[in-house]
């Protein structure tokens, strides 16, 4: 992928999560336009270089100091400041320690974990599943995002319910939709889908489903089989 050395200003590196091919979604349909041969990298904003500006530097420094005090090293893989939002990429094995510092350190005081979301990047080898936590500090009026990547082959992540009881349902939902097993969760059961459902619907390898619609003799394919732009 080294033929795409597009590094925007202020970013140390780019973060390649996949490759986009073609322009019309359909595969193998005798596309003669030539657009079907397009290849483009999918590049997420990469690590930022300090100083970050605003309160972000303070948060980064306080976190680094308190993590050293707690005897944790290598917890933060990178820090991304993008569109005014701060994201910490954290190693899964250090997630609990990292979140504990975020919650308990008086200078940080992220009292609330408001949401847990998953994102599935099938092409991001060994980092297929990204889990995104949104933290809010009402005390300091700050917001950070914590992102963890785990391989699809070993979909385990420590549960944060003991730390933030609010993530109980959010983790259940992430398990339901992405199949991520939160170790230590008190009752990791499906929450939106029926209990006996097979598969995890928000994964990219799970089809949207739907049936072709017939209208006046013509058949219109289901949305995920239609020719569309990507």
């Amino acid at each position: 992928m080294s033929e795409f050395p597009v590094v925007p200003d202020g970013l140390a590196a780019i973060d390649l999560v996949g490759v986009r091919k073609g322009a019309f979604g359909s595969q193998g349909s005798g596309d003669t336009s030539g657009f079907g041969g397009l290849v483009a990298p999918i590049v997420m904003p990469g690590a930022s270089i300090p100083p970050f500006g605003g309160w972000c530097d303070e948060v980064a420094e306080e976190l680094a100091l308190s993590l050293v005090d707690a005897g944790v090293s290598g917890a933060v893989e990178k820090i991304v400041i993008d569109r005014g939002e701060m994201t910490f990429y954290v190693a899964p094995e250090n997630l609990i320690a990292f979140m504990t510092e975020c919650r308990d350190e008086p200078a940080l005081r992220f009292e609330m974990c408001t949401s847990v979301s998953g994102v599935h990047f099938p092409q991001d080898t060994n980092r297929e599943l990204h889990i995104v936590y949104a933290l809010l500090s009402i005390t300091h009026n700050r917001r950070i995002r914590v992102e963890v990547s785990i391989p699809d082959s070993d979909r385990h992540l420590p549960s944060l319910v003991a730390l933030y009881p609010s993530v109980d349902w959010h983790e259940r939902e992430t398990w339901d939709f992405f199949g991520i097993i939160f170790d230590g969760h008190p009752a990791l059961t499906r929450i939106q889908m029926p209990d006996d459902w097979v598969g995890h619907p928000q994964r990219k390898d799970y089809p949207l489903g739907g049936i072709p619609v017939e209208y006046k003799g013509a058949s219109i394919p289901a949305p995920d089989h239609r020719r569309s732009y990507n």
């Binding site: 999560v17 996949g18 986009r20 483009a40 999918i42 590049v43 997420m44 904003p45 993008d82 569109r83 005014g84 939002e85 994201t87 009292e111 609330m112 974990c113 408001t114 949401s115 979301s117 998953g118 994102v119 599935h120 995104v132 949104a134 809010l136 009402i138 009026n141 917001r143 995002r145 933030y164 009881p165 609010s166 993530v167 109980d168 349902w169 959010h170 939902e173 499906r190 929450i191 939106q192 889908m193 029926p194 619907p201 928000q202 949207l208 949305p223 995920d224 569309s228 732009y229 990507n230």
Partner: protein, 446 residues
């Protein structure tokens, strides 16, 4: 194990008689043996309340473990209204996404649309380019929506506690707001009015006067509702001290909105992280210190009045101008206008693309079918919905469709408080506690 003799045999049953466990006789006549059962045995029963129970506030299922009338354990079962909106959005363009998100929390469609659009706009990097008039209209629509949502909260909450007049009043006043929505967007609910880059269309002529009149009328009518309930002994008896959840509990459970403000913490994202120009409006954040259902009721009443004040300020700030971003690569190309059949595109636009400018036709076609691309990245812009923090975590990989959209719905999070609020209370108080959370199952299940 006690087995009761069958006194009345069922003529339709087979010859098989159960011999396992306690056998109760449907025909009756076995009271002596039931009453003689040892104290404490079989006293705890599990009641399944909902999902089709009129007072569970939508398709919410509650599994209650009861000892007599006391709730020992309360658990929620959700998912009955799950429609896969987030998954569906991954197969539509960014603009089409608005039509989906508006159906999530169906009592607060304007908030869903705004939360989604603000995240998309941040991804596009066009937050500063939204025209002033569009922002004012957004704020006005959201605040009117807050009034209508709180009115339904009071109406359904009142109905669930037996205050049917409150229900009639609430829905009657809500109609006034929905009439405005219909006039402005064409639809009472699910209007898909707020779009990335601005709003779908400008206010029709006469809308400002109608909104002004409605605000005056609403102020008067809201007084009816509050006169009816605020000092009402029965209402207070049902809500004071019920559904108690203090600040510590709210923090631990991630509770936001009126429930958090009923503990005395004035946390409101319109103040702490203003969006859409909320920093330019004067309003108060009502709080209570009671941490109970009555406090939340008072907060909702007060918030409606604050919202009406904001609507007044919006009307004063409305100056003519564009309602959609100037960037032609993002702005929806056509304006709607009412045709002879009551709907349709503007004749001028049709005239232009069909007979004047080939390029305009291509542009229209590309933007409507293909849509615009959004630079790769992720964004989360939370807003203060009637129920608390509502935000869309939107991930783009640079395509014309969202890669992942996750809604942080306040009802979903706040419903986790049902156990904390109602365990140890009477079963009747569960209803009051749930009503004070005001969950909307469309948002919870998405």
């Amino acid at each position: 194990m006690t087995t009761t003799e069958f006194t009345n045999s069922d003529p339709f049953s087979g010859s098989y008689d159960t011999t396992d466990g306690t056998v109760y006789n449907l025909g009756g006549g076995d009271w002596d043996s039931i009453a003689a059962a040892p104290e404490g045995e079989n006293e705890r029963i599990v009641v399944n309340m909902g999902p089709q129970h009129p007072s569970t506030h939508g398709v919410l299922r509650m599994i209650l473990e009861l000892e007599g009338e006391t709730v020992v354990q309360a658990r929620c079962g959700i998912g009955f209204l799950h429609t896969g909106i987030e998954k569906n959005m991954e197969f539509r363009t960014w603009v089409q996404g608005v039509t989906y998100v508006t159906r999530m929390d169906y009592l607060a469609p304007m908030f869903n649309e705004t939360a989604y659009c603000l995240s998309v706009e941040r991804l596009l990097g066009i937050e500063d380019q939204i025209p002033e008039r569009a922002n004012v209209i957004r704020v006005m629509m959201m605040e009117l929506n807050r009034v209508s949502s709180h009115l339904v909260a009071l109406a359904t909450g009142g109905m669930e506690l037996g205050a049917l007049t409150a229900m009639i009043f609430g829905f009657r006043e809500r109609e006034l707001v929905l009439d405005i929505f219909e006039m402005v967007s064409g639809l009472r609910m699910n209007s898909a009015y707020i779009r990335p880059g601005g709003v779908a269309q400008d206010l029709p002529s006469g809308a400002e006067e109608k909104i002004r009149e409605t605000v005056v009328l609403l102020r008067k009518r809201l007084k009816d509702t509050s006169d009816l309930l605020v000092d009402n002994t029965i209402w207070m008896g049902r809500t004071v001290g019920v559904g108690y959840l203090d600040l510590t509990g709210c923090m631990a459970l991630g509770i936001t909105g009126p429930i958090l403000r009923s503990t005395g913490l004035p946390h409101d994202l319109r103040k702490s992280a203003p969006y859409c120009g909320y920093e330019n409006y004067e309003f108060n954040v009502p709080t209570q210190k009671t941490s109970d259902a009555y406090g939340r009721f008072l907060i909702r009443i007060a918030e409606m009045h604050e919202s009406l004040n904001i609507v007044d300020q919006c009307l004063d700030r409305l100056v003519p101008g564009p309602i959609m971003i100037a960037d032609k690569k993002i702005a929806w190309p056509s304006q709607l206008s009412v045709g002879s059949d009551g709907q349709g595109n503007s004749p001028e636009h049709i005239q232009e693309i069909m007979s004047e400018s080939m390029e305009a036709l291509i542009h229209h076609f590309k933007l409507v079918t293909e849509g615009f691309s959004v630079p790769a990245g992720q964004a989360y812009v939370p807003i203060e919905s009637p129920r608390g923090e509502l935000g869309a975590h939107v991930v783009s990989t640079g395509g014309t469709r969202p890669y992942r959209v996750h809604f942080r719905d306040p009802s979903f999070n706040n419903l986790q408080a049902v156990s904390a609020m109602s365990e140890g209370s009477m079963i009747a108080d569960v209803i009051a506690a749930v009503a004070s959370i005001d969950p909307v199952m469309g948002g919870v299940d998405r």
